[in-house]
Symmetry: C2
Subunit: 349 residues, 2 copies
């Protein structure tokens, strides 16, 4: 059987397990899937298309004969092993923040800048979850009217912080509902000093703080947007907040368009026909996206599009997508599909 040999690095994680599922739906032939993880997880098994695959420890040699390697095991693992994979002829699609702002590395949302992958030198970066869905929703508007400004406040799901964070939230919720003591050891950021409960709470910190009071998550949204849209001039600010949702990031997005002629109806039309977008925007019938509805789906859902009441060219909208799928695993597999479609990777065997 011919086709790609695909490696998934971080195969037991929240994103890695979704990568395996998304690969089952990929529009390219797959000869073999290699599931890689830490030594601790080696020997465990996972299913791909109903077939049991044993998870192996990630080593440099794991990437021999691999055509495409999907990484989602943390930035330090990517830094360590992505060059090894490239050295062995694999194209790396990296879901960590390790290479996203590297000028040599394309940062790709296929609906927005698929052509950027042509310039890859072995590594292609998958943007941050909260950036991707916003790009999918805004690109059709940018293309038609231009964008001067974005102000976004996020409502981000706990699965973005991993399987253990979801477990902790559920344990906290159970204990709170039973009026029992609860613990917080993971959120807002595993790498930070203090931890706060997320169940029945909202935490205005995702990732660590930088010196100017923004978090790295907020800077990711700002800097990645500029890179993906190839626009250093766009005014963009973000406030990133974690809320007690399992999967499905939501975003309250305010934009100012550059050109005249936009209206709520014209923006709805653009999004109704946009790739990767599902318009859910009918307030009279209470149709709008919610995280619970979006979870498990690959689309980016947009609703509540309305004109700012004071700013001539200002619009507000509500953007929701499954952070583990379009925000991570599905976008990575889509990049692999683009590599295949554009003929940029030939299977080694």
């Amino acid at each position: 059987m011919s086709g790609y040999t695909i490696a998934v690095v971080g195969a037991t994680g929240a994103v890695g397990t979704k990568m395996i599922q998304m690969l089952e739906q990929a529009a390219f032939p797959i000869k073999e899937v290699k599931l890689l993880a830490s030594k601790r997880s080696a020997g465990k098994k996972a299913l791909f298309n109903g077939k049991e695959i044993e998870i192996q420890e990630t080593t440099a040699d794991s990437f021999e004969n691999v055509d495409i390697a999907l990484f989602s095991a943390g930035g330090s693992i990517s830094k360590q092993f992505a060059p090894e994979a490239v050295k062995r002829g694999a194209v790396v699609i990296d879901n960590t923040s390790a290479y996203r702002m590297d000028t040599e590395v394309p940062l790709v949302v296929p609906e927005v800048n698929e052509e950027a992958i042509r310039s890859h030198k072995g590594i292609i970066a998958n943007p941050n979850c909260s950036t991707i869905q916003m790009m999918v929703a805004l690109e059709p508007i940018r293309k038609q009217y231009g964008l001067d400004r974005i102000i976004v406040s996020t409502y981000q799901a706990v699965s973005g912080a991993g399987v253990s964070a979801v477990k902790e939230m559920k344990d906290q919720a159970k204990n709170m509902l039973n009026n029992e003591p609860f613990e917080a050891a993971i959120l807002p950021s595993g790498g930070d000093k203090k931890h706060f409960p997320i169940a029945f709470n909202a935490l205005p910190q995702i990732d660590l703080f930088t010196e100017d009071g923004y978090t790295f998550e907020e800077l990711k949204m700002i800097n990645e947007t500029k890179k993906i849209m190839s626009n250093d001039k766009i005014k963009i600010s973000a406030t990133c907040v974690r809320i007690p949702v399992v999967s499905g990031h939501a975003e309250s997005v305010y934009i100012e368009v550059k050109e005249d002629g936009a209206s709520v109806a014209s923006i709805q039309d653009l999004l109704r026909n946009a790739p990767g977008v599902e318009l859910q925007d009918d307030p009279a019938n209470q149709i709008y996206p919610t995280p619970l509805d979006a979870a498990g789906k690959k689309e980016t859902f947009v609703g509540r599009i309305r004109k700012d009441r004071d700013q001539e060219n200002g619009y507000h909208m509500w953007v929701v997508s499954d952070n583990l799928l379009k925000g991570a695993a599905w976008n990575s597999v889509q990049i692999a599909e683009s590599l295949y479609k554009l003929g940029l990777v030939k299977a080694k065997d």
Copy 2:
């Protein structure tokens, strides 16, 4: 014993029960508290300063000899009984939206526009919960630098929709955690056609939709802000979202100040010394407000103050307060304190 006779209308509700607690801390003498509710709740008992008080059915005659009547039993009850209370010589402090935009009725946040109560004609309106905390946080900045613009996205707690909505959220959460079927019959708005689960979800609808795609909750924030700040010119837009939190509304607020000279440090200084505000803004030590921390407290908490990275006079902040206390019961009792302090109500006996 001398002092005011105070009526609480809606004494068994989420806000009414907090009004009774807040009256225990009021800075004026109280002779008697009359607890009023629907016929259904008549005969139940509640404690005020350790003394059991029987709840009575609200009738026009309930307001005989009442000095101040706090209403929080829904707009239609206020429309029906507030005029009866006024006719009998009581001053009404109304926590519903019934009279807020009435030009004859002052809309008051004591830290912001206490003097407005001098013009009352029997009814004083308590603003919407999400408006109040934003006003407390922004008034010190407005006073110093002026405000051109506000863009707010809210993260609102379920207790704002009443005791039954909180119970429903907890039931949904329990069932979801046990992988059992769950029901949704109340949120996003009891008066609307469809209902969606709020547990582990986020709902971008609070109150009903208006024809231009904004919800009434969003228009409350917009119109009440203009009235409280006596400024029709201010640009203001709101996106109101319900999240699975019991009590404590959070808000991601973006402002543009009018005058030069503002900085993060100067805004922090203003808020550090502002009435009703507690500054919690030290990102390096992960100090910022959260709903769980704010619940049960009377202050408005402000953190994450930072300069917009592109807009010269733009600032972002995170504002949290207990929606049942400063957002409702405590603000109402503060208005009663102002009436007492300014000598606007003489006890009848």
